[in-house]
């Protein structure tokens, strides 16, 4: 289990592969890996966005993430997890968050990665301030629940 708060650009695929090769090599118990990567978009709420600053509450961030992983482990059979979250100044297309969950069966991997992402979005003390192409700055007020886009 690893949690990393990252002040510079990170490559999610390098993070996963490095973690796997150190911690999960030859683990024949792994049948499923569910990975979520959140990336900065260049458009939000109808406005073109050219950058973002991610503030956080050092210490509480890690404490809440650890709590979320513990809760997930109580609900699903999890072999391992990796969470990386960016802070500081970010540009569009850069990675904001990586959640990887390794399990034996796919149901656990899907359920747990979704649980961790939803809990992270609602409980972990990160705050985003957007810089628009108009040079205006604005705090994002609230995360959506993320599940409103189903077409029918």
């Amino acid at each position: 289990m690893a949690i990393r708060i990252c002040a510079g650009v990170f490559d999610p695929y390098q993070e996963i592969q490095a973690y796997q090769s150190t911690n999960l090599e030859n683990s024949g118990a792994i049948g499923a890996t569910s990975i979520f990567i959140g990336t900065m978009r260049d458009f939000n709420e109808g406005d073109a966005v050219k950058g973002m600053t991610l503030e956080h509450y050092p210490g509480m961030t890690e404490k809440q993430l650890e709590k979320i992983v513990t809760e997930a482990r109580q609900q699903w059979h999890i072999i391992d997890t990796l969470i990386v979250h960016r802070v500081g100044k970010i540009l569009p297309a850069e990675s904001i968050v990586l959640v990887a969950v390794w399990t034996s069966h796919r149901g656990d991997a899907f359920d747990a990665s979704r649980y961790i992402m939803d809990a992270l979005k609602s409980k972990v003390p990160f705050w985003k301030k957007e810089l628009l192409i108009t040079e205006d700055e604005r705090w994002i007020v609230e995360n959506t629940d993320g599940y409103k886009c189903k077409r029918n």
């Binding site: 979005k121 972990v124 995360n143």
Partner: protein, 79 residues
């Protein structure tokens, strides 16, 4: 005995208050609400503000003891 409480503010709340940290002294056991009032006299706690004591979420009527770190911040928007 005097209680010393560190109060921290984050994100838009930090900007609107114009401070990121206060150190308050209390003569008796206090609550999160009471700490806000003493640190920000005359300024009501903005709606939706979240509070944490020692990096765990708490209700506003939770009690606070010597050495605690109390934090106030807007809804989180990470991920």
């Amino acid at each position: 005995m005097l209680m010393s409480i560190k109060v921290r503010y984050f994100a838009s709340l930090k900007e609107s208050i114009g401070r990121q940290e206060d150190i308050l002294d209390f003569k008796e056991l206090s609550t999160v609400n009471e700490i806000w009032r003493q640190a920000n006299p005359g300024k009501p706690l903005p709606a939706n503000t979240l509070a944490a004591v020692n990096m765990d979420y708490v209700e506003l009527d939770s009690s606070v003891k010597d050495g605690d770190e109390v934090a106030f911040f807007p809804p989180v928007t990470g991920g």
